[in-house]
Symmetry: C2
Subunit: 279 residues, 2 copies
């Protein structure tokens, strides 16, 4: 394998992958190399452009910390995250739809009781969130683990406030016997994704705005059901049709309602897909 040129190098690289023991990894690497090379060939990538690509990926990696995941943000803004979610969550009609996970989830959020204020001091208009977790057959799902996280009225998640001594706007609670849950928080507001790093640079260079429509994140787990990762979006938001990460599903748009007594409420039920039984 000497004298590889722009025409035969792809086959040479694929041949080098031929002994990969794991057939799935071999399939993935083979497809990756083919598309990577096809991209470079299609645009006739120059050496300067290659170097800028290397620098961009390096800067993206260096922007990743325990508190910030710039590669997820890149995947989100290129639509790869939503594509992957869509391919893997083709649930039956009636189930709550999934959407992107996003870069702001934190393991080990505080476990709270029903009715707790998950805002925990985060600025914003107080509200009450309530609903039920059910299975596709309508059955209540008791004891479901409901992991919720959200940005505050300033458009920031707690992890974006480096001096904060405790979690804000995130918690884990469990559904009651009838599947019900309720907690207090602050009303979600639209916010720009972090655009002071390489992804922000990419958005500016492509004349894109960084805004996401207001939403709450949920990850709901219960034995016997597929884990649901989703958002609830706020109706009327100006960015519902141009979400920077392509995550909006019409079925996930809901209304935060100002009640007569002055309290703002969000009612939303989640429907989980039972895990297929293997016989």
């Amino acid at each position: 394998m000497r004298n590889l040129d722009q025409y035969n190098i792809t086959q040479a690289v694929l041949a080098r992958l031929a002994q990969t023991p794991d057939p799935r990894l071999k399939q993935i690497m083979t497809s990756l190399v083919q598309h990577l090379h096809a991209f470079a060939r299609e645009v006739r990538l120059t050496e300067d452009e290659w170097k800028r690509g290397i620098d961009f990926l390096t800067a993206t990696g260096h922007t990743c910390t325990d508190q910030r995941q710039e590669f997820i943000l890149l995947s989100d803004t290129l639509g790869l995250s939503m594509l992957t979610v869509a391919m893997n969550n083709d649930k039956p009609a009636g189930c709550t739809e999934a959407t992107v996970f996003g870069p702001f989830h934190v393991e080990g959020a505080p476990v709270v009781e029903q009715g707790a204020d998950v805002a925990n001091g985060a600025p914003g208009e107080p509200c009450l969130v309530r609903g039920r977790v059910r299975g596709l057959g309508g059955e209540p799902v008791a004891g479901a683990e409901i992991d919720v996280w959200q940005a505050d009225a300033d458009g920031l998640y707690d992890v974006q406030r480096p001096d904060l001594p405790h979690h804000q706007g995130r918690a884990v609670l469990h559904s009651a016997e009838d599947g019900g849950f309720h907690f207090r928080s602050v009303v979600a507001e639209p916010y720009p994704i972090p655009d002071d790093g390489p992804v922000g640079e990419m958005l500016r260079a492509t004349a894109r705005h960084p805004w996401r429509p207001a939403h709450l994140h949920f990850m709901i787990k219960a034995p016997g059901y597929e884990t649901l990762v989703t958002h609830v979006f706020r109706d009327g938001d100006p960015y519902l049709d141009s979400d920077a990460v392509f995550g909006v599903r019409q079925s996930l748009v809901a209304q935060w309602v100002r009640q007569a007594d002055g309290l703002t409420t969000l009612d939303f039920d989640f429907v989980l897909n039972p895990v297929k039984k293997t016989t």
Copy 2:
């Protein structure tokens, strides 16, 4: 743009790139998104695999330092570097061929006189390297900047020895009036690319060896000529046909010869491609 699914999301992302002011960036981003999505669709990427990809890229970024460029290593081992070099260096017959830049070049290597020992203490068998820099028409190229770098007998570049107080195995010298150059160094030996990081993990998972055949790196610049980035490989090396980074050109393979007086010599001439005149 709500309810994007696995079929229409690619078009939605491309539409979002439509206002990119720079037409070349628009072309590159459009092709990149199409191939990225086509890859994910072709292998039906799972959410776990997506997460492993994010983790791999993050670890690759975190492995990059001022002394180590893991993304270049990744590009090299996936054949993208050699593909890019091949597409952009289609020189006329008679010119010295180009090959990969690699991750070990350092800006600001010491400028030395002809005849200097560029090994500067690096372990290895002493040798003399000599040759001429010429243009395609045969004309001598005087004052060409010859940037040379190499691994030592332990298979390490100086930047891989963190406690080293000075450069070893790298220098910049200039060709004489007749295009001639000569310097002393140590004989190049085959070596494994750094495989204690994510790229090494990828090589092991795909049952690939990390070895590169013995070589000297050269970058040669002279006014009026295209910059040449290339290697000289050592004839007889066991890895010439399975270079981990796909960089071998037969025309770049040369012999280090043990002379009667015990000195080992390498003779190699470089032929530069004149820059095309624009009228």
